[in-house]
């Protein structure tokens, strides 16, 4: 176990939603710590709280009770604008349906977080070009999302997520919309980024292939950690 301070921690986190008169308790005292360099999957049945946990980790929402810290920062102490800045600077996202901006090229999409950070265009070009090469889509840099396959789009999304070197990259079912071969290649890339650059990944998934390729599997049941296993990967 590493001694580095955690990049992400949940301490007694609960999250309650109200759907009309119905109260939905998505998380019921979640405790979880993710350290730098980890490659972790959160698994569990539908309604177990995976997505809610990921949203809280991504500073997209705030807990009802308990504390969520990203890179040591308690989300409850931040305003909406500060949370936006935290997402921009410290968190990368890979979404199930890629969610690339259709009017931007692959290169521009990958560079979008750097642009939001105000990184000079020349530096953006250099960093993103090498990243796209590393992900095997260097020759597709000028293509728009609608000119790319699903797997290529997800690689662009991964490039966008890691380009700004965030503390943690959150993936919401990153292999759900691609075929098996593409999923395997994406998982290769994720592992490669994790091993070569020490990028921390927290992936929410139902996909057995993902569970086999990560090093830690956290199983949620009814909004709590049911098991937390270190696996071979």
């Amino acid at each position: 176990m590493t001694t580095s301070p955690p990049v992400l921690s949940f301490e007694g986190v609960t999250k309650v939603f109200h759907q009309g008169d119905v109260e939905v308790r998505a998380l019921r005292g979640l405790d979880l710590v993710v350290h730098p360099g980890e490659l972790t999957a959160i698994v569990g049945p539908s309604g177990s709280g995976k997505s809610t946990a990921l949203h809280l980790a991504g500073a997209l929402d705030v807990p009802t009770t308990g504390t969520v810290r990203v890179d040591g920062v308690d989300l409850a102490t931040l305003t909406a604008r500060e949370r936006a800045a935290l997402r921009r600077d410290r968190i990368g996202f890979v979404f199930q349906s890629y969610n690339l901006v259709p009017v931007m090229s692959a290169h521009e999409n990958a560079a979008s977080v750097l642009a939001l950070q105000g990184v000079p265009e020349a530096e953006q070009r250099t960093r993103v070009a090498s990243l796209l090469e590393e992900l095997g889509i260097g020759d597709l840099a000028d293509r728009r999302p609608d000119q790319l396959s699903g797997g290529q789009q997800q690689r662009v999304a991964i490039a966008r997520a890691v380009a700004a070197r965030p503390a943690v990259v959150l993936g919401d079912e990153p292999t759900a919309n691609v075929d098996s071969a593409t999923a395997e290649r994406l998982l290769d890339l994720i592992r490669s980024l994790n091993e070569r650059h020490g990028t921390t990944f927290l992936l929410s998934t139902h996909d057995e292939r993902v569970m086999k390729r990560v090093r830690r599997v956290v199983t949620l049941v009814d909004g709590k950690v049911a098991s937390d296993e270190t696996v071979g990967g």
């Binding site: 949203h55 936006a84 979404f95 969610n99 901006v101 259709p102 979008s112 977080v113 966008r160």
Partner: protein
């Protein structure tokens, strides 16, 4: 990647909708520019007719004129007053006035006789420019008169025909003489058209046995001198004589001109309100179609101000294009309306509020005309854009990303 570049691409994502929005804004601008110029031209021409042909900016009458208007109620030394007015930076011309009866072989009519010095008068007014036919008064034709067009019709006289003028002179004797119609005016005003006879001041004095004095002094001011300031200067020079501005002399017409300009702005607002609703709808559609995308951008760290700026920039691009198109399309029409105008045909000469409508209705276009139309468009579009832009800026990324 700059905000402007993303906004430009977003504008052309749905090119048909953007083109319709741009076309609607351009059409509204085109309409308002041309409409405002035409109305402005009409009002300017009406105001110009009032000031240049008849009333002038100011008029000075004898102190007792309101109570006892008549041949013997005069400003005693009009020449001295004119000199004082000129000294004050104003231009003035003296008028002699009297009522009477004019008769031709066929008919007779009540008339207003106006005596003037054509040289001095030409410095202040432009009545000779409104001659319909014939020639203006001249010192070498002391018995020549210029009459209103409807009076000519009523008396059945034309150029060169004779008419007899009958009235009472200042000394109580009968004033009558035979005159030749030297000129017939085009449309000026209801009163002038129906009853005016213009004659030389020297002839007037001889006819009415009025060796000195004047009934009216018409005053003009330099274009850059405000009316109130001109009136103040004239009052200083006029002593006990009464100075009135044209707005005081013709309050109904002054109010009508002012309210017509207000109505013009009101029409602008109605046109732009319709365009505002269209823009609002277009921007709302553009936002709703991209709620999920905007949510993703916010999730990636785009702040609310950046989202607001993106939506506003997209509309700004369309508005700038619409302004360019609308202005470029309006320019040749504005030129045509200014140079050639619209011939209103039979409506020409019709009296509106006592003023004769010109036969050719020309536009009046200037920078203010353009900027008013553009600024109003910008204000309406800004309001129409801010509502959806603020909604977009306030989207919670987590909600937006769930939006289907």
């Amino acid at each position: 990647m700059t905000l402007l570049r993303i906004a430009w691409r977003n504008v052309w994502r749905n090119s048909r909708r953007s083109l319709v929005t741009i076309a609607a804004m351009a059409f509204a601008l085109w309409t308002t520019i041309l409409y405002s110029g035409l109305v402005q031209g009409y009002l300017d021409s009406m105001e110009g007719d009032v000031l240049d042909l008849e009333v002038g900016d100011l008029q000075i009458h004898p102190e007792a004129w309101d109570d006892e208007p008549g041949l013997s109620t005069v400003i005693e030394d009009p020449a001295a007053l004119v000199a004082a007015l000129e000294e004050a930076g104003l231009t003035a011309t003296v008028r002699l006035l009297s009522g009477g009866l004019a008769a031709s072989d066929e008919a007779s009519a009540g008339v207003v006789l106006r005596g003037l010095d054509p040289v001095a008068d030409a410095r202040a007014l432009k009545l000779p420019e409104r001659l319909g036919e014939g020639r203006w008064l001249a010192a070498d034709a002391p018995k020549g008169v210029v009459i209103g067009r409807r009076l000519a019709r009523a008396l059945g006289v034309g150029l060169g025909d004779e008419l007899v003028v009958l009235s009472q002179a200042a000394d109580g004797s009968v004033a009558n003489d035979l005159f030749a119609v030297r000129g017939i005016l085009g449309p000026v005003s209801e009163g002038t058209d129906r009853a005016a006879i213009f004659l030389l001041d020297t002839t007037f004095r001889e006819l009415f046995v009025l060796p000195r004095g004047a009934h009216e002094i018409i005053v003009r001011r330099p274009a850059d001198l405000p009316l109130d300031e001109a009136a103040a200067r004239a009052r200083t020079a006029a002593g006990p004589a009464v100075v009135q501005t044209w707005r005081e002399l013709l309050p109904t017409i002054a109010t009508m001109l002012d309210s017509s300009r207000s109505v013009m702005v009101f029409v602008f607002l109605i046109i732009y309100l319709a365009i505002g609703i269209l823009v609002l709808n277009a921007v709302l559609m553009a936002v709703f179609e991209r709620v999920r995308e905007l949510g993703v951008m916010k999730a990636l760290g785009m702040g609310p101000w950046a989202v607001l700026a993106l939506i506003v920039t997209e509309t700004a691009i369309q508005t700038v294009l619409a302004i360019a198109v609308g202005t470029l399309l309006a320019a040749p029409f504005a030129w045509y309306l200014t140079v050639h105008g619209i011939n209103v045909g039979a409506l020409g000469g019709t009296a509106v509020m006592g003023l004769a409508m010109a036969e050719v209705w020309t536009g009046s276009y200037d920078l203010q005309n353009l900027t008013t139309a553009v600024v109003l468009l910008l204000v309406i579009v800004a309001f129409a854009t801010l509502i959806p832009a603020i909604r977009a800026a306030r989207l919670r990324p987590i909600d937006a990303m769930r939006y289907q």
